[in-house]
Symmetry: D2
Subunit: 352 residues, 4 copies
């Protein structure tokens, strides 16, 4: 699986790229696994323009037929469930069961969206005027922009793209710059389904790239709705840019979750829950447990048990069976984590 | 309040009656409080025919305007809240706070139905055929029959009639034969609202009478929906008759509710709950607690406390302040109750 | 395809039958295509009892997991789309495109129901009491009975069974006595999916048989909901029997549809619509056009054009390409049709 | 009605103001009708702080009880329907039937919201994990900010405040700086209802003032949702400020509506519709018809008829019976209108 050839991103219903060549690495051993040609701004314009054209075709297709395409996308992903799960583990660094679980999530979203494709009901509303009624019908927006983060490259795409597609919208996707192979793999699978159905694969257009592409999406008036998942800081910028042009924004930003454990809690259950919430995906989830508020009467018992279960966590290669905790996604994350530990230690020294 | 003159039921938007003259009594002292002329079958036909005619007018009025009429009905009842509450206490026999509470319930239903009158939305459903959609619009049924029981003459009417009216249906109501004054009072109030709005008061047509009128409603093909509240035995007959003509039925029948008290229950709270559930409305509710399943470990404690609170229940005239338990509604009910006690006693003797 | 061996119906998660042996024929040429052993009442009891047991398992499975099973059923039917379509054409007699279209309908229902399996939401309702709320949760009924008619053996099953299954209900199905091979084929496919998932195939229990089995379902108190599709006369009996035991009934009965053509209609479009509505499924649909109300000003033009298009209808073997009108389902249907024609002719003679 | 004394705005459940004294004028004759003390920023802080405190009380009241308060607000407004309608006509300048119609709209919103107060249902969602379900419950946001425009001072308040109140939110309202008497009158009526129910009138807090108060609301982190109705330019600024602090925004901004008249249109009906859409509220609606696209074949006929009906429009004092077109709201509006006419004339000269 380390032998990925140089990959190019997809646009215009075709594959290509004329931007910078970047490398993608296995976070578990920092070995390069592939080189990828990112999209230039010229590529963006060509791809976006093809997507905007494809919108005329896609929105004219009856919703249940769009649902049938999404069903086929779900089946195409299901056929590659284990391959995609391994790729997630290889490039993002999450343990294999989490990788497979995440791909399953986008498959589930496809199945769910198929059902929705027959339920996009409008309303007929009684009016106070005689022989009069009001009709409320849902129309597609056109193109929906989806900017996703490194930690859930497939699932977050699924929550947004599956619903957007059955609603009659085309999708412009920018995955994380550090997970380009997943972007490419997903896009190839989705494109193959559109092609098999003689539909323009530009209905689902994806770009590999960084902040420049992301900002282009935020500013593009052809994209009335932008979904952004990532840091609070960047999300705020995206929201400002999108709302400045009266676009709509869906934001899924950072979290700072605490778990509160009271004196009458089932301690072993709570300990296991905290472990799962703090260690899962190597703590790189928006829902990760970051703080622990313990009732004083169970404080020491809880901590003792927690330290004990932490000791049993197998750290290692995420693709190896039995590993519970894989690597952080990048070297920068690792350094930031070590710095955090240092900070905490120095605060502890001060407080005693 | 004992000086009610002879009353006649309402039909044809007018008041009258040519059926048998019956008396209605105060269950607290068995004194006659009024004589009422019931509806003959000829009266039924005239009234039903007027109601059926009125349906053409009522269903053509926009739903929010129908809501405005129902709002006015609510206000008219609100203005008579205490009078109607006292009448309920006098004729049905429930304690005064329950009488007032029940009238409040129909007022609440009116207010709720006003809101619904702007929400009777149909659906516009996406089709799998291009340039095609399906529309689902709710139309009134015409006339809805409502047969209510003695124990909640106002509330049960409200649940059915308020919704039926905003949906564009006329209502044919038969109250219990033993609460004719309530039927008459309610009908006069409702009729006055229709009249003030220059609408036929036959939109809400009520009959005083017994099984003959009830059966006429069940069999009448002009009434596509019959709501029946009462005994399981009669409900089953009504259902058979209505469904034999492919009408729709709403049934609210008898109950046989048990309360289960476990060993970790809050005993004083559970005791009070059982008291309320068993003694409220003198046990004449479909939701009355009829059986008690007690965990053996709290069995004796619970019973001791229950006997204690039962001793504090003030029995007496339901219109008197402080009374918690009024009379059973009829002499027949009382005899049936005493027989039940006797049965239980003889079973106890056998089981020891 | 004419070489079907003797088939036995399924119950108890196993296949078998000890009732009468019946033959099933090709309505196109009246040749026997198979012998089938129907269910005896003893078989019914064994099968129903297995189904009732399986309900405990099925209702405990989370709704989205039930949806996954239904998705697999859809896929299993999709894999056999053309075979099942041909079997429908062979045994029921509808033309092949209609046969395939009907199987597609149950596949679509499966896909739709998968989406619903994540939307069976209950409600949390605000209460007028402080610190209090009401919860309304949907629970499975247990076993749902489905009695279907000869004209749509697959589609009608789909509308009922797919929804029932995701809602957590087991299904007891009785197909038409004259389409037992379809009953058997469908059941084998559905059973294989349950078996592959290590679930009791009795979750979906089917019987071949006639009125005796149908009546057993109507009377069986273990079946709280019975869906019946068929004649108005039998539907009324089923409704009476089911409601006598306070069960719920879904009825899909006969129709008597008219098409009204006004003077400003698009005549060629209207003519084609009438043809499709009257000739489709050889006029054996509940939605078949039975009457034509024509504005006098277009009366003759319309009839002339209709006669013209009727002449072009190719009548013949329903499995042959190009056939538009296949046989009536049974010899009895044919005789009843001819008698109807005779009646009309004698009326015409009288009226001139 | 010209004898309004100096008025002070309401805050802290009390009345007062320490900001600049402004005058409000009758746009029909430019006479001063009252002087009003606006809120200073110190007043804002005191009022907002009282409102924020009141939120704890209001959100703990059961939704149906909040509905009852809103019902009483509706009744209090209904009792003053004609007075408020006249005040709208006097201060805003719209014709009397429009003034009364607008007050009726907020009354209708109250009635509608009462119904909603029993329908703010959460969801119980099936989970894919056994013995697990998800609950989605709607909680109040706390304080909702409502900034309204001069053209519909009552109706726009109603759409926002009635829903906010039944949902358990307090309301901070800033009306237009040029309609302070309406702000004061509405607030006094609403406050009287809260007081009668022994609730803090700060649940509904209103300020007279201009951009400074508006901006304070936009920036105030105690206000998680801001509804703004007004110009596109200001709306954009509000949205930027609210979203910069991750607040939610509801915007109701400018329009630029066209009416398209095709060659097969009912010309007299279309002419009347255009007149109503262009002249109503003196063209000061977001839904006002600003452009007319006429099919060339009916162009001249349409214009001729339109000119004819325009000639019949009675212009004058909006409070006088028969007036169809009242004054523009301010001298600035009038000048902008005249300038627009001038522009159009000079363009016409150029184009010929």
């Amino acid at each position: 699986m380390a032998s990925f050839a140089r990959q190019e991103h997809q646009f215009l219903g075709a594959w290509g790229g004329s931007g910078p060549v970047v490398t993608t690495t296995n976070p578990s051993n920092n070995e390069v696994i592939a080189e990828v040609v990112e999209a230039s701004m010229d590529d963006y314009e060509k791809g976006m323009s093809a997507c905007f054209d494809a919108a005329k075709t896609w929105m004219a297709i009856p919703a249940p037929k769009r649902g049938e395409i999404v069903r086929q996308i779900g089946d195409a992903l299901r056929a590659k469930l284990h391959h995609l799960g391994r790729l997630l583990s290889l490039e993002m660094g999450k343990i294999l069961p989490e990788g497979i679980g995440e791909v399953q999530e986008i498959i589930d979203m496809c199945d769910y969206a198929v059902g929705l494709s027959r339920q996009l009901n409008g309303s007929i509303i009684p009016s106070e005027r005689p022989n009069h009624m009001m009709m409320e019908v849902w129309n597609p927006l056109g193109v929906v922009g989806v900017i996703t983060a490194f930690n859930f490259p497939c699932a977050v795409l699924g929550w947004n793209a599956c619903i957007a597609l059955v609603c009659g919208n085309c999708v412009v996707w920018k995955g994380a710059p550090t997970t380009p192979l997943i972007t490419i793999a997903m896009t190839k699978i989705v494109a193959s389904v559109f092609e098999k159905n003689n539909l323009p694969s530009a209905i689902f257009t994806a770009f590999c790239g960084g902040a420049e592409i992301g900002q282009a999406i935020a500013l593009d008036t052809r994209i009335p709705l932008v979904s952004f998942t990532g840091s609070t800081k960047v999300g705020q910028m995206v929201q400002q840019q999108v709302s400045a042009r009266f676009g709509k924004c869906l934001l899924e930003l950072s979290g700072n979750n605490a778990i509160i454990v009271m004196d009458d809690a089932d301690i072993p259950l709570a300990v296991r829950s905290v472990l799962f919430a703090a260690v899962g995906t190597a703590g790189q989830r928006c829902t990760t447990c970051r703080r622990l508020l313990l009732h004083e009467s169970i404080y020491q018992t809880f901590l003792d048990q927690l330290v004990e279960v932490y000791k049993q966590v197998r750290i290692g290669d995420p693709m190896e069976k039995g590993t519970l905790l894989g690597p952080l996604h990048t070297t920068a994350s690792k350094e930031s984590f070590l710095k955090g530990i240092q900070n905490i230690r120095s605060q502890e020294e001060k407080s005693f």
